[in-house]
């Protein structure tokens, strides 16, 4: 506990330090990153110990506000999430220094190190807070510091838009959470977050659950609250994207799990809602991984897909708890927590590698990349590892956790009521489809970015990145391998947190053995690969090996423009699934026998986003256009408003006095 507190204090100091060193910009970045990395490393050891140890601790600090308290607590559930935070934080602190120094020639970057440490500290406080008011402070700190970082390159229009979407959605979520904690506080008489399951009055409990779902669901990026995620995550600096996708989304999952601990008798309906929204997010996210032609946007949709998988598993766990089926509950919650861990590892890896690509090739558009493997071999290998983990290739992190998720769904299929069984079967089908599409999308992302020949001059001139960026990515590769091949360790890490939900280790032993088996076979798979590769080399050694051009039906002068494009690659799948997308074509159509040159472009966006949010906001702002008459920049008018307001206030005060 104390080490974790020191780590948070260290991060807070790390947030102040770059501001003190304001005059020496580069030094500020390095100093901020160093303090951040050391604090995260210290925090990580303490979080791992607390997660596997199972003991809970609390600490009450001095606090001068009339409401709330500086009440911090570290229990295994918080510790599991802190493990994600500190591990990804460690990697992104180091990576961030390398990433930001590249901008140092053009603009001030010192403050970003401060904002990053503030973000890390406030996320840590979110996980540690045991008081509603403190939680909201930390939550707002997280929102604001993330907003500042997302808006780093604010001279670009898409960056400003993305940051704004993020802020609006975050505040919708925060509004729900304000209501949530106020309601909880008024029901139990204190803002302290209860340590044990508490019975709320029958009118309060459902409202709490709805607010938790909306507030935390928004932070998690769960459909239909996901529209901000693909707008904000791609435009942030890449180590921030890594932190947002790898850790900040998990704050939503943490909030939902905390709610499950605090509110006694959560009904199965809440679980089913999570289950359904999760399945929808998984499929919608997976479709858009293929539809997006911006590398980081594609990865952001992959986060939506994975958050969906987490929500499905969590939903199954809640249903299991509500239906008194501890086996289903155990596997559902275990799957959710494991996927939180592995998604943190592989998604922060992918975003970091995408950042290296962005720095190397100066573009996020897949259609302008290509051939980067030859120019950035280390980044390519690292990205491949992340993509394979996200595509759930056995032996890597994504598979190990999805195995437990599937295992839980199969269990639910066997044990729930008939309606529950049908829902589990449907979810299995949905996750299978999402898995297939996600694998397709990630294969496309890798293939278009790294394979073939460069599609643009920038890609042709791409360079490998510095060690400060490669080293933290290598650490995350290690995490992906460890989580994939030794799932037993990850399960032991989350077991004490599961015990808080009344899930005994004995319920998990079968799945530990099975996941271990799957992990072993993953290693065997790797060994067979190596053996066959050796066989292939042996076969080829005495034979002639020649070089030639790629087969093009005999055409021997191919150009890079003749390669298959990312949009074409996605087209057959998107044709089948076009119901979920809004495809826009712009530009002219070639006409006449000898057509003039035309430019034609297609773009596909997520229909929920396009219709519900962009369409919806446009509709609302059209409807409210008449209100614009209220502010016509005339001083007299504003004076009148002030006068009316004053009269109203005075009359209200007069009434209060009379009473």
């Amino acid at each position: 506990m104390h080490v974790a507190l020191v780590a948070v204090a260290g991060l807070a100091a790390g947030a102040a330090l770059p501001l003190i060193l304001w005059r020496w910009d580069r030094l500020a970045v390095v100093a901020g990153a160093t303090v951040g990395a050391i604090s995260c490393a210290a925090g990580l050891t303490s979080a791992i110990r607390a997660a596997s140890g199972g003991a809970a601790a609390e600490w009450l600090g001095p606090w001068s506000l009339p409401i709330g308290a500086l009440r911090l607590g570290l229990d295994p559930l918080s510790a599991v999430f802190l493990c994600c935070l500190f591990a990804v934080g460690l990697a992104s602190s180091i990576y961030g220094a390398g990433y930001m120094l590249a901008f140092a020639a053009k603009r001030r970057v010192g403050w970003t190190a401060a904002a990053l440490n503030a973000l890390l500290a406030s996320i840590a406080l979110v996980f540690l807070a045991r008081d509603g008011v403190l939680f909201l402070f930390a939550w707002e700190g997280m929102t604001v510091s993330a907003f500042l970082l997302i808006a780093f390159e604010h001279e670009h229009r898409d960056v400003r838009e993305g940051a704004l979407w993020y802020l609006v959605f975050s505040h919708f979520g925060v509004a729900c959470l304000f209501a949530y904690f106020s309601l909880m506080g008024s029901a139990i008489g204190t803002f302290q977050i209860p340590g044990a399951a508490t019975s709320f009055p029958p009118t309060v409990a459902p409202a709490l659950l709805v607010l938790a779902f909306a507030g935390f669901g928004t932070k998690m990026g769960l459909a239909p609250f996901h529209a901000w995620l693909p707008a904000a995550h791609p435009v942030a600096p890449s180590h921030v994207s890594a932190l947002l996708s790898g850790v900040m989304l998990k704050c939503g999952a943490y909030g939902l799990l905390r709610t499950l601990l605090v509110v006694r008798g959560v009904p199965a309906a809440w679980g089913w809602t999570l289950f359904a929204c999760g399945a929808a997010s998984a499929v919608l996210g997976a479709i858009n991984i293929l539809a997006a032609t911006d590398l980081k946007r594609s990865l952001a949709y992959s986060s939506i897909e994975n958050v969906g998988i987490i929500a499905v598993s969590l939903g199954a766990g809640v249903v299991g708890l509500a239906a008194g089926s501890p086996g289903v509950a155990a596997l559902g919650l275990a799957g959710a927590l494991l996927h939180v861990l592995s998604h943190s590892a592989f998604k922060s890896l992918l975003f970091s590698a995408a950042g290296a690509v962005l720095h190397g090739a100066h573009t996020r558009r897949l259609e302008r990349m290509g051939g980067l493997l030859k120019r950035m071999p280390a980044t390519a290998a690292i990205f491949l590892c992340g993509a394979a983990a996200a595509a759930a290739v056995p032996g890597l992190a994504g598979f190990a956790s999805e195995f437990v998720v599937y295992r839980g769904l199969f269990d639910a299929l066997g044990r729930l009521t008939p309606a529950g069984q049908a829902a589990s079967a449907a979810a299995l089908g949905a996750l299978a489809l999402a898995g297939g599409l996600a694998a397709a999308g990630l294969a496309r992302a890798f293939g278009m970015a790294f394979s073939g020949s460069p599609r643009s001059e920038q890609a042709a001139n791409a360079r490998e990145q510095n060690a400060a960026m490669l080293l933290p990515m290598a650490m995350l590769v290690g995490a992906c391998l460890a989580l994939g091949m030794l799932p037993r360790i990850a399960l032991a890490l989350v077991a004490p947190a599961l015990a808080q939900f009344g899930i005994h280790w004995s319920l998990l032993t079968p799945v530990v053995a099975q996941a271990g088996h799957a992990g072993q076979l993953g290693s065997i798979f790797l060994l067979v690969c190596l053996a066959l590769a050796a066989l292939r080399d042996r076969l080829l050694r005495p034979r002639p090996v020649a070089q030639s051009v790629t087969w093009g039906c005999g055409y021997a002068a191919p150009t890079a423009r003749m390669q298959y494009s990312a949009a074409s690659f996605a087209s057959p799948a998107l044709n089948v699934l076009r119901g979920a997308l809004e495809v826009r074509m712009s530009g002219g159509v070639p006409q006449a026998v000898f057509p003039a040159a035309v430019h034609r472009e297609s773009s596909a966006t997520d229909r929920v986003d396009a219709f519900l949010y962009r369409g919806g906001t446009a509709w609302v702002s059209r409807r409210l256009a008449s209100l614009r008459r209220l502010h016509r920049s005339r001083v007299q008018q504003y004076l009148l408003y002030m006068f009316i307001a004053l009269v109203l206030l005075l009359s209200w005060a007069a009434r209060l006095v009379r009473q």
Partner: protein, 304 residues
């Protein structure tokens, strides 16, 4: 001993299947056709050849065939070949690993195809991933149906001694066989999904992804394709032949079943035309619907 026999079947017999399919097709066309062992000859020829690599390719291209074959071999360790030959690496939950190993193999093939930068191979890869993604729900729903009916999550127990299960779930199992047969044809790029014999790059799916591979790499690819056909065929055969017997009899029965499977694939290839590209998703959705219906029937039976 059993593991050795299992491994021998897995390593040695798969290249036989395409030979049988081709003989059946030849018979329908009134030709004699190539020898049944033709694929073995081809493999032997290819491993003794050198290779030509495109200048655009990298180690990804060279790793593709190796990883694909490795994934399929490990997947083969999970399947039972007959009542006395359980999967040597079987465990509860191996159905999920099996599906994802197939996926890993495909991932490697697709990356190798994209590595050439050829638009033909990109086209094939794009079709492959589309059809595979659409076949995935059918596969998982079939697995879910079997899991629910048999109360197990391992192929070995799911596909053995299911005579009594056939009595209670007969119609559902028949539909599952249909769904799994369609999945097997789609995953292996056979007619009506893809024609392995076409020689027009624009119309192919699997074959066009491997245009640039040569020598031992191409041998790995052909070998891998035959293993994939064998494995998915083995599931259909084991489900369709619900008998329990001693080892020699059962293995003989299983192998006879595999031959019948190859003959049926050959008959389908000879009597059906290959579908238009945009009709294929409909058939895959139909396979999913079969599996879902089977699931519904099993749910009703299980609950009462």
């Amino acid at each position: 001993m059993r593991a050795a026999l299992h491994l021998a079947i897995l390593l040695l017999l798969p290249p036989l299947l395409p030979g049988i399919v081709n003989r059946v097709k030849a018979a329908f066309a009134g030709r004699r056709g190539p020898p049944v062992l033709q694929l073995y000859f081809d493999l032997w020829k290819l491993v003794r050849k050198g290779a030509v690599y495109s200048t655009a390719t990298t180690w990804i291209f060279r790793a593709g065939p190796v990883v694909t074959v490795a994934a399929l071999l490990v997947a083969g360790l999970l399947l039972p070949f007959g009542g006395g030959l359980p999967g040597p690496a079987a465990f509860a939950g191996d159905v999920v690993l099996f599906a994802y190993l197939l996926g890993a193999g495909r991932f490697a093939t697709v990356l190798a195809a994209l590595d050439t930068g050829s638009s033909f191979e990109g086209m094939g890869a794009s079709r492959e991933v589309t059809f595979a993604a659409l076949a995935e729900p059918a596969l998982f729903l079939s697995i879910a149906g079997l899991a629910l009916a048999r109360g197990t999550l391992s192929w070995t127990t799911m596909l053995s001694g299911q005579m009594p299960a056939w009595h209670s779930f007969g119609p559902a199992f028949a539909m599952l066989i249909g769904a799994l047969f369609l999945v097997a044809l789609a995953e292996n790029s056979r007619i009506p999904f893809d024609d392995p014999n076409t020689h027009l790059e624009l119309t192919m799916v699997h074959e066009v992804m491997v245009l640039d591979h040569s020598g031992p790499d191409f041998a790995f690819i052909l070998y891998g394709a035959s293993i994939k056909l064998f494995l998915l065929g083995a599931i259909v055969v084991r489900l369709a032949l619900p008998f329990a017997a001693s080892i020699p009899a059962h293995v003989a029965l299983f192998l006879a079943g595999m031959i019948v499977f190859a003959v049926i694939v050959g008959v389908v290839e000879s009597t059906f035309a290959r579908l238009r590209m945009n009709r294929i998703p409909q058939i895959l959705v139909a396979a999913g619907v079969f599996a879902a219906l089977a699931m519904a029937v099993i749910l009703i039976r299980v609950n009462g």
